[in-house]
């Protein structure tokens, strides 16, 4: 298994790729499609990015459901499993997401309900209510917490998109446990019909600012290649996506300057 991973990494490192990984452990940063682009996701529409910036939910036009598994550094205890569904309804869409991280000694699960609304032809906004449950081994208490995140997406021109997103902008005094807040802003451009390039800035409570950039290249109608860079841990990322008729498969690989590679795979079903 380890040698297989080395082979894959040897292949992809040539193209430059990366993995920004969550500075804020409570924040969902999309699926493999986004991770492959250096986690540049808040202005690039897609199934998983709709839960990174809920405004993007409004751009979904079909009922879909997806499953995602992320393996951090190939350590089983650091794996995250996520399931989500999107239900479009005219100018708005509703999304549900469930995510689980950890192992028997520590678990963190998140359940979120989101809504995205198209305000005008070029502006969309979205909101998600999150419920977190953290469970430690028997000797410690469990924690429950509720917060919200909100995003705004807009198109300054036909080819340019931009967005802002804020996670947990709630004063710390309202909760018993520490939960970092995160602010993100980014912009992307469609270059020709096959290339999308984007850049994003992100900062979480008490942390330094992270700059990220990513690229997606449509090799054919069904195949996408992705690459990205994040200033956090000087990480590169690579990903690819393939679309069958009603199934989309995405893979990503993200490097960390000290800890190795994180990989992720997802399946998204278009139901209607």
């Amino acid at each position: 298994m380890y040698s297989l991973q080395r082979i894959i990494v040897s292949l992809v490192v040539f193209f430059s790729f990366s993995a920004a990984f969550c500075d804020n452990p409570f924040l969902i940063k999309g699926g493999p499609g986004e991770a492959g682009m250096g986690s540049v996701c808040i202005m690039h529409s897609g199934f998983w990015s709709s839960f990174s910036n809920q405004a993007l939910l409004a751009l979904n036009d079909s009922w879909s459901a997806g499953f995602n598994y992320q393996s951090r550094f190939n350590i089983q205890e650091l794996g995250t499993t996520t399931a989500a569904a999107v239900f479009p309804a005219g100018n708005s869409s509703v999304g549900l997401i469930f995510s689980h991280f950890g192992y028997s000694e520590f678990r963190r699960s998140m359940t979120g309900a989101a809504c995205g609304l198209q305000l005008t032809e070029s502006i969309a906004a979205g909101l998600q209510i999150d419920y977190f449950f953290e469970n430690f081994s028997a000797d410690y208490d469990s924690y429950h917490s509720v917060t919200f995140e909100a995003g705004l997406f807009f198109r300054p021109s036909e080819r340019v998109s931009a967005a802002i997103h804020v996670f947990n902008p709630v004063p710390a005094s309202l909760r018993n446990t520490m939960m970092p807040s995160t602010l993100r802003a980014g912009a992307g451009i469609q270059l020709g019909s096959t290339i999308f390039a984007g850049a994003e800035a992100e900062m979480s409570t008490g942390e330094k600012l992270i700059l990220k950039s990513g690229l997606e290249y449509g090799v054919s109608e069904n195949l996408w290649l992705r690459g990205g860079f994040s200033s956090e841990f000087t990480s590169f990322s690579f990903g690819l996506g393939y679309m069958l008729r009603w199934l989309r498969i995405d893979l990503s690989f993200v490097t960390h300057e000290r800890l190795g590679i994180s990989s992720a795979a997802s399946l998204v079903f278009k139901i209607k």
Partner: protein
């Protein structure tokens, strides 16, 4: 209470998504933050923002073509004022802000700065309107709900009240201010003014401010040349204005008159005012002397109350000006007499050159001359016929796309002018020699590059610097304004200063402090009702190697159905030390401002709502919370609630 407030605000916000507020330009806000970062001169930022609020409330009638009226836009250069007046006189009135960049000497960036402060109405109103009495009443109430300091003399809220009336040529008003911890009506100021168009141009009874020349002799208003890269360094003005600020020290109280006859002008004034000061008794307590003035205007503890109005100052002065063809010149005299002698602690080497005695006489002469594309201006002033201060400036506009400024100053260590606000980097207007140069260049369509450099030398000791020292400031700024909806700017600034090194007893070592700040800001109006601003700051402090970062997002929204606008800010900051702190201007109530120093690791959340109702009233409410991380699981929080009601009839 805090939890309830926050919950209400969080619930209210997502429901309202649209807004249209005249947004202050990035350049204006940069200047405010730069001024706020100067710990030695907090009064200037106060004055600066108050002047902007005043302009916002009482906008400049740009089509008047009257240079005095236009010069209220204090950030414009003499070139620009003259050019604007000429344009309106010869080509007729302006109809919109989009015409301003087409005038010689102006560009889109300057038009953007001006936009919130001008109106395009035609000046000639009918007599009935002019004689109508207009009243404006404003009350600001501010409180920090989480704070309860029982050691203060008064209650913990701040209350500011302003009233103003105008009827025909007469105007007047009062200002009352109670700071946090003070007793009610701690400061009251008022004035009555007459404005004429004949020989008597203005008479003010009560509190007033006065400015002469470049301000090295008298300037109780804002100082010239606020930002290193701003063009307005060469403003030479002689004016008296009613004083409406809440600042409690630097103003005159008495009578002032401004007269003009043909090309000659004259201002005379007499003032008697009480000042806060620290007094010291001599050995047998028979005589008190003033060792220092207290300029904070805060009287919330017994020691501060003891210093309140401890000494009185009587000032009389006169200024004469004459206008030749392209040359304006003038001389000004003022004499200050204190009720108690000033006797600073001369054993402190820093204070060797400080003024002592009861009387200070100052005589100054100033000029400015516009020769085609060259503007020369200067002022020389002498205090007590001993110590000299001088300033000389040159502005050159070789082509429409380039403006160059240079300012030379030399303020001797012993020069004393109690009401001066001199151009340059020092707030005291003494003990400084320096040269400053800057330029502004329109490099391409919509792209502006400006840069400035200021080199200062302090021949004598000063605060926190126990040796003659030097300081440097440099700034490079790129502004890109491709449309009225989008503005982006990036700036890099460098500061060098010599300070005392913290250490043990004995002679202080030299600590060379270097600050490098990078700023990027982009503002975008998505729709007429929705505007965004994103900003990032990075600061590096040497030799400590500390860093500071700031990332903020503003959303300004105007509701469509009701006359309500909402401003929301979320800001995250992370700094390694107090030295690497950063400043971020916050929208606020009128006549109140907030530019907090952000230090540590934390966040700032602000929400402000403005509601205009019944056509004659406006209410603003602002709630802000600042959280700073103390350790991994503990935050210290400070919240503030501000309310404002403004009525006009």
């Amino acid at each position: 209470m805090k939890k309830n407030l926050i919950t209400i605000l969080i619930l209210v916000f997502p429901g309202c998504l649209y807004c249209q507020e005249k947004i202050l330009s990035g350049e204006i806000l940069n200047i405010a933050e730069e001024l706020a970062s100067d710990e030695n001169d907090q009064e200037t930022v106060n004055l600066y923002l108050e002047q902007l609020y005043e302009l916002r409330e009482n906008t400049v009638k740009i089509n008047s073509s009257d240079e005095t009226e236009l010069s209220r836009l204090f950030f414009l250069t003499a070139f620009q004022i003259r050019s604007l007046a000429d344009h309106i006189t010869h080509k007729g009135p302006l109809e919109s802000v989009y015409e301003i960049p087409l005038i010689t000497g102006f560009d889109r960036a300057v038009a953007e700065i001006m936009a919130p402060f001008i109106d395009f109405s035609h000046t000639f109103q009918n007599d009935r309107n002019r004689m109508r009495c207009l009243h404006t009443l404003l009350a600001n109430f501010m409180i920090s709900p989480g704070e309860n300091d029982t050691t203060l003399a008064g209650s913990s809220f701040r209350l500011l009240t302003k009233y103003k009336f105008t009827t025909g040529r007469f105007s007047g008003g009062f200002t009352s201010d109670k700071d946090k911890g003070e007793k009610m009506f701690d400061f009251i100021s008022g004035n009555l003014a007459f404005t004429g168009s004949g020989m008597v141009r203005k008479i003010i009874a009560g509190d007033f401010s006065f400015r002469s020349g470049q301000g090295i002799h008298i300037n109780t208003g804002i100082r010239t040349g606020l930002s290193l890269t701003s063009a307005g360094y060469m403003a030479v003005r002689n004016e008296i204005k009613p004083y409406t600020s809440a600042g409690e020290n630097n103003f005159f109280r008495g009578v002032a008159a401004q007269m003009a006859y043909k090309k000659a002008g004259m201002i005379i004034f007499l003032s008697h005012n009480n000042l806060d000061a620290t007094l010291t008794a001599n050995d047998d307590s028979s005589q008190y002397t003033v060792t220092s003035f207290q300029e904070t205007g805060i009287h919330s503890t017994s020691s501060e109350l003891n210093k309140k109005d401890a000494v009185s100052e009587t000032v009389l002065g006169a200024s004469l000006t004459y206008r030749f063809r392209s040359l304006n010149g003038g001389i000004t005299y003022s004499g200050s007499m204190f009720s108690l002698p000033l006797l600073p602690e001369k054993s402190d080497p820093e204070k060797v050159f400080d003024f002592d005695g009861k009387t200070n006489h100052i005589l100054s002469a100033h000029y400015n001359s516009l020769l085609n594309r060259l503007l020369l201006s200067g002022e020389i002033s002498v205090s007590n016929f001993e110590d000299i201060a001088m300033v000389q400036g040159i502005t050159l506009r070789p082509c429409d796309r380039l403006t160059l400024n240079m300012l030379l100053r030399n303020y001797s260590p012993g020069y004393t002018a109690f009401h001066a606000t001199s151009p340059g980097s020092s707030s005291s207007g003494r003990n400084e020699q320096g040269i400053l140069g800057n330029f502004r260049f329109e490099a391409a369509r919509h792209l502006f590059i400006s840069a400035g450099c200021d080199l200062s030398r302090y021949p004598w000791l000063r605060y926190r610097t126990s040796f003659p020292s030097v300081a440097k400031r440099m700034e490079l700024r790129f502004s890109y304004n491709p449309s009225e909806n989008l503005a982006a700017d990036m700036a890099f600034s460098y500061r060098y200063a010599m300070l005392d090194e913290d250490g043990g007893p004995g002679m202080a070592g030299i600590y060379e402090s270097e600050n490098k700040i990078f700023r990027a800001r982009i503002s975008y109006r998505i729709s007429p009702n929705l505007a965004l601003l994103t900003r990032f700051d990075h600061k590096m402090v040497q030799p400590a190697g500390d860093r500071g970062m700031l990332f903020l997002q503003d959303i300004t929204v105007t509701l469509r159905s009701v006359p309500v606008s909402i401003w929301f800010r979320y800001c995250l900051f992370s700094t390694d030390s107090w030295e690497s702190r950063l400043y971020a201007y916050e929208n606020d109530l009128l006549y109140s401002f907030s530019i907090p120093a952000l230090s540590g690791k934390g966040s700032v959340s602000c929400l402000m709502m403005k509601w205009k109702f019944m056509r004659r009233a406006e209410m603003r409410i602002k709630y802000s919370v600042r959280s700073v991380m103390k350790d991994a699981d503990y935050f210290s929080e400070k919240d503030e609630l501000k309310m404002q009601m403004r009525i006009w009839f």
